[in-house]
């Protein structure tokens, strides 16, 4: 049965698909994909958000789910998602290739993403990047030999008032300095997840020298009389 399917696939592949996907279909045998039982509940939850005739809207959330499960998105996962949302696999593939968060290949145990955009650079992101590269012995885009860390450069992560920002396994580490990033990396090396958020004395993006607004507990304000 499997060889019959393989022959059918081979025929369609030779006429329709590109060489890269052609070889990948056979890799699919080695890397079969299915969502876990728990994740299938999440699949149902995701699909329920959209009108039943608009299942394609679930493609991005399902790609995230597959990546959270596997650490990257294998092509077999894209085939599975295409069958769930009932669309051609090329549609899922096209969406997958457009967005920077999705990873086509396995990565290290911990993914370090450092922002080097303007606000972070102005607050010393270059020094942080150098410190990470020196400590781990890898450049941007590389993975350490023990497969512990992958280092990536990313664009603005939306936390500019607490720059520099380093995102590790999706956790935001803000107000980072060379001392704090070394300590954070030591924790991750032991598979301990250090406390995320600001690594300074402030809790968030209030002025570090002390709040200038909202110093006392707020209360409900007077409502207009015509309500």
């Amino acid at each position: 049965m499997l060889s019959l399917c393989q022959n059918k696939i081979k025929q369609s592949v030779s006429t329709k698909l590109s060489c890269r996907l052609f070889t990948s279909l056979f890799e699919m045998e080695k890397l079969p994909f299915d969502f876990t039982q728990d994740n299938y509940e999440k699949v149902d939850n995701i699909l329920s958000k959209y009108p039943s005739e608009q299942k394609r809207s679930a493609i991005i959330p399902l790609l995230h789910l597959a990546q959270d499960q596997e650490g990257y998105v294998p092509e077999s996962a894209m085939m599975k998602i295409a069958s769930i949302v009932a669309c051609p696999v090329s549609k899922v593939f096209e969406t997958f290739t457009f967005y920077t968060m999705f990873r086509p290949k396995p990565v290290g145990d911990h993914v370090i993403e450092i922002c080097t955009n303007l606000s972070c650079t102005l607050r010393g992101a270059d020094q942080i990047l150098n410190a990470i590269q020196d400590k781990l012995g890898i450049r941007i885009g590389e993975t350490t030999k023990d497969n512990k860390f992958t280092l990536l450069e990313v664009e603005c992560q939306g936390a500019c008032a607490t720059a520099p920002v380093v995102v590790i396994d999706g956790n935001y580490y803000e107000d980072v300095e060379v001392k704090s990033i070394n300590s954070i990396l030591r924790d991750f090396a032991r598979d301990v997840v250090p406390k995320s958020g600001t690594q300074s004395k402030r809790n968030g993006p209030e002025p570090i020298g002390g709040k200038t607004t909202l110093k006392t507990e707020p209360w409900a304000q007077k409502i207009r009389e015509d309500l």
């Binding site: 968060m101 303007l118 939306g158 993006p205 002025p207 709040k211 607004t213 707020p218 409900a220």
Partner: protein, 444 residues
Amino acid sequence: MLSTFLKQPIGQERLVSSLVTKRFYGGLNDNNRIFTNLYGDYDSSVTGAMKRGDWQQTKNIISKGKEWIISEIKKSGIRGRGGAGFPTGLKWSFMPKNDPRPSYLVINADEGEPGTCKDRQILLNDPQKLVEGCLLSGYALGAKASYIYVRGEFKKEIASLQSAIDQAYEHNLIGKNACGSGYDFDIHVHPGAGAYVCGEETALIESLEGSTGKPRIKPPFPPQFGLWGCPTNVNNVETISSCPTILRRGSSWYNSFGRKNNHGTKIFSISGHVNNPCVVEEEMSIPLKTLIEKHAGGVRGGWDNLLAVIPGGSSCPVLPKNICDNVLMDYDDLEKNNSSFGTGAIIVMDKSTDIIKSIARLSKFYAHESCGQCTPCREGTIWVKSLMDKIVEGKGTKKDLKLLESLITAVKGNTICALGDAAVLPIEGLLRHFRKEVELRLID
């Protein structure tokens, strides 16, 4: 006594004007702040939010009717806080009447403009304001449901928002018969996946539909053909989150802040070379210098150490110190000074900054983020980046500079969306105010 004073010849005008109260902008009191849990010091749950005034009289606001709500928002003068600054009430009135298709409210939480980190604070610490805002705005638009598109990197923020939505459902504030008003309204969170271009409203809609984030040609605009081909209004988080307070306290209250056509309050994100980078809610039209010195601890090394400021996020042309001395933080004054208000994300650069390298870093950003759909942006951003890199390294020539200038004309206004304009506007600002520095860096 007064007439004697007024007859004095020298300094008369000054005397007369001092008798008339001059309006200074920027002294917003905490009791006029909308986002009272901006820093997350207090309980962000439904209970905590209600204590701070959220969800009060929501049913009564709904019973006032759609026209009343839209009229109030129009009268308040609020303009879109996501960067474009389009009058919100006017945008809402573009929704078609008596259309058989279902309508949708889409919230743009794709906060990707470099320098901007304000919506994040609302999602983390004051999410009930957004939930209530979605309900009231959705009702005014006749929307069936709201989809909140949050950038994929904001995992903690997505969890916080989802928890807020779940709590609102549990308390029957949204869902069937929301707040006992008879109106059914659902809210869903949808994640992005790392694409700045998805901050553009039609690219966001494409992304929500499961496609690549390539903007659509406008017209038709989203109110005519939006999500799944239905009437849609796409609004920023801060805009919608401000609406419940505006409706509760009155449009005239909101209108009392800021200059004409620039009303209200704004969450500013201040980053870069200041002593206390922060996020703060202040009055519109506050002078830039006052904002930086009052809340961000001033420029590193003192105000005279200031080189330049990008006033509204990376897409806004840079302003040199002499303009920063007096410019007001509102749409009109910044436009008058050949820049723009954008998202109110202030990036401060002191005299230690290599301004050309800083702008070149922004060029790298836009080249990375171009969706590739239209030629002027796809090709133009790559050319701008490579020319800027060449100039930064000291290998640029006069011919390269001329080519860079011609690229500004070739790209600006000739692209499907504003990303093309955003990519060349920083270069325009650099050449307008720092041309000498650029020319000094050239080989010839």
